[in-house]
Amino acid sequence: MVAIRSLATILTYVIGLCGMVPLFPWLAAFPLVILVVGLISGLMQDVRGSWHLKPWMQNSAIVPVFCYYALQFSRSNPVDPVVSVLAIMLAVRLSGEKTVRYSLQIYALSMFCLASSSLFDLSPIFLIFLGLLLFLVAIALVLLTFQNQDPAMTVSMADLKRILFSGLLMPVLAVPLMLVFFPIMPRTQMPLWNFLNPPSSRTTGYADTVEPGSQSSIADSRSLAFRAEMPRQPISNLYWRGTVFNRTDGNKWIRTSRIPTEQAEFSGHTVAQVIYPEPSVSRVLIALDRPIALARQRVTRAQDGVFELAGSAERRMIYTAESQPGGLIGQRKSINRQFYLQLPDRLPSRVMSLVSEIVRAGKDDQARVEFLESYFRNGGYRYSTKDLATGDRALEQFLFEKKQGHCEFFASSFALLLRAAGVPCRLVGGYLGGEYNELGGYYLITNDKAHVWVEAFIEGSGWMRIDPSSFAANAGEVWSPTASPGFRLRVTLLLDSLNYVWNRSVITYDLEQQVRIVTRVGSRLEGLNPSKIVRSLAPYAAGALLCAGLLFAAGRASLFSSREQRVLRRFLRTIEREFVISTGEGGVGLFEIAAAADNGLVSDFVAIYAGAVYRDRRLTDDEYARLQQLLREMRAPKKS
């Protein structure tokens, strides 16, 4: 025999652990220690069977803790006090006796603890713990119901298995319902917990300014920047456009918001993408170069094709974009050339002599760009993130001495030289490349893919994308498109596709998506032709009906049974219903039934039936009719 209470207590500890383990990495030292101490002391007391900590002691211990953390609560620090109080309350409850009431409180606190861990990290691990917790709580609630009925209740092992099985069955049945309710339950436009969300400390890989020479080396960050759901693209098109830098002081490039009007002319094929950016402090929305339109509320589009969010991008979101790849955007009219020719007052003499060389070599924009391209290609420049030129003369050092640098060096110097040579241009910050995840059908772009390139305005053609980094002597090694993904990368991509599905279908699922789905379903329904549907579904319906009929027939063997068997079955059913006498599924003799029923109709029935069947002969038609008549009379409502 197994004591229900012991099992419920064990489950209570496991549930407590499910709530606290995901929270451990985020807890401050004090609540963490209290949590561990509470767990251990509770376990020791439960093993001994005596509880020294009385409920009133525990409750009074919580009050000062609550007051302390309530004073800590502020708009700028909302999460830590709440989470700490939850953890300490859980610890206190775990340290006490596991009565039904306190066990229920532990379950609720564990749920809250797990939910609060989602404020720090919303990974699929959360889903695993949530699933585990839901299953365990369902079983524990069933056990607590038994414990509540009789705290000393014991059941046999076989019965316990049945109880546990029934407890498990409920969440299993609830999962399909949950899957139905999740997409259709109304969503709020803003997450309810948003006020508790801590400000994001993450930034995207590219900065708001481009300043080569500020650091002697840069570190690669493999953290995720965004995912873009779209068909695979040629690698030469994988430029993800973010922001544009249009002013320079010689070393630093910044963006000014007073941008002259442009009239871009889009033609050719477009690529649609669904972008899932990671939360970021930057408000720039990224899309494949060059984005034509971006579907998202409260987004502004600048004249130079930069899309910015009016609010913050600190929570997870999703947007669709449409882009025209290719790297050349035509213009209906000429641009404000002067704006894109802005330069610092003075340029180093070595730079100026190179500029005059460019001007001499090419008469128009196109020729000058080509000359500079060949200068870079043949200049022995190397792409590197180490041993970089620094200081005020960083660009000059890069161009004439070190001849190695990262994309910022290449792009800044290229743009500076172009402007000095009279070709309007600007720097574009974004990302280059990305891993294509075949499983999920999306590009995974990490922050180390951040990139800067140049857009030069060629009179008569338009804005042309030029990536000076690709002119480096070692460009092929750095951006090797032929390298096949290694095992580690494949595993990473597989794991990421899980994360992606989670973000896409759960985290970013909001009112907007709901409305979109409803609209899509509505428009599809409008286009439906009912008669066509009926025709196409008819064979399936017929098949289903046939299967159902067969199943029904198999379940009701009476269709194939003899007249004697049928009438006997009806008789037994009638006896069970009308006389509430157990017929033991036919295991009780007819005469015993007649004696128990003590009813003339029943006795008559038994006499006729037994008179025929017990003597190995079939019922005659008269007898059969009489038996049916008797059954009808037995079922007839009795007059009181």
């Binding site: 069933v142 119901t145 009925q149 049945r162 109880i163 029934s166 157990s582």
Partner: protein, 249 residues
């Protein structure tokens, strides 16, 4: 919530309770009734089934297997003699999660006859003291008494009655002749019993029936109605039933 609601509803469905009274139920004395519940569901057991009978007596069955019956005993005490309806049984269960208790009631057809509360008495009715056992023995032929005589075998006696030892000495077969102990029947006259009021006299009569019916023939005189003397449990139950229903028909 929907799943637990449905589980709770299905848990108490297709449960047929029953109440089986004992043979003898006396007013004022707790009587053990057998309460059973049958789960006629084909595939699922029911959990935490609570059966509540009249006056609040209840039983809890942690598990009732599918196509099986569970039973237990509850003690019922009835205040008055007479025919009492078995009333209704309420089946309830807090299963699965104890937030709500679902229940439904089942009307049990049938009645139980509650006998008068037995009240010890020395008088057997009819105004005379009850004779001590043996004082009113009457000699009769039989096989249960003392050896009274030896007689010639007539051919009708059973073989085991033949006195083989004596017969061997002579030429005739001799048989043993036994007497039979017969106690004078006790005829209880309700009106002659001591006591204040009919109920008390019925109680005394019930006591007498219960005390003597297994040892001597007991008859009953209820006003004009005469119940002939007889012995045995069934006869006793018949008399007690008469006493229980006295005045109600």
């Amino acid at each position: 919530m929907s799943v637990t609601g449905l589980a709770g509803m299905y848990n108490i469905k297709k449960m047929i309770p029953d109440l089986h009274p004992p043979d003898e139920v006396f007013a004022g004395i707790p009587a053990p009734f057998r309460v059973s519940v049958r789960n006629i569901k084909r595939s699922l057991p029911s959990f935490l089934i609570r059966l509540e009978c009249h006056a609040g007596q209840s039983l809890v069955f942690p598990v009732v297997l599918q196509n099986a019956e569970s039973d237990g005993t509850v003690l019922f005490t009835f205040g008055q003699r007479g025919r009492v309806s078995l009333g209704r049984i309420t089946i309830s269960s807090p299963y699965p999660v104890g937030f709500f208790t679902r229940f439904w009631s089942y009307e049990i057809d049938g009645t139980v006859v509650v006998f008068p509360r037995p009240l010890e008495t020395l008088s057997g009715g009819g105004g005379e003291e009850s004779p001590a056992t043996g004082a009113a023995l009457r000699p009769q032929r039989g096989q249960s008494g003392e050896l009274e005589r030896i007689s010639l075998y007539s051919g009708s006696e059973p073989l085991r009655m033949i006195h083989w030892k004596l017969s061997a000495r002579g030429h005739d077969l001799l048989v043993k002749g036994f007497g039979r102990s017969v106690v004078a029947p006790l005829v209880i006259d309700l009106d002659a019993l001591p006591g204040q009021g009919v109920e008390e006299r019925l109680s005394r009569a019930a006591w007498l029936v219960q005390r003597w019916v297994r040892e001597r023939p007991v008859g009953l005189l209820l006003g004009d109605r005469v119940h002939p003397a007889g012995m045995g449990k069934q006869h006793g139950l018949k008399l007690l039933r008469e006493l229980a229903l006295y005045g109600s028909d």
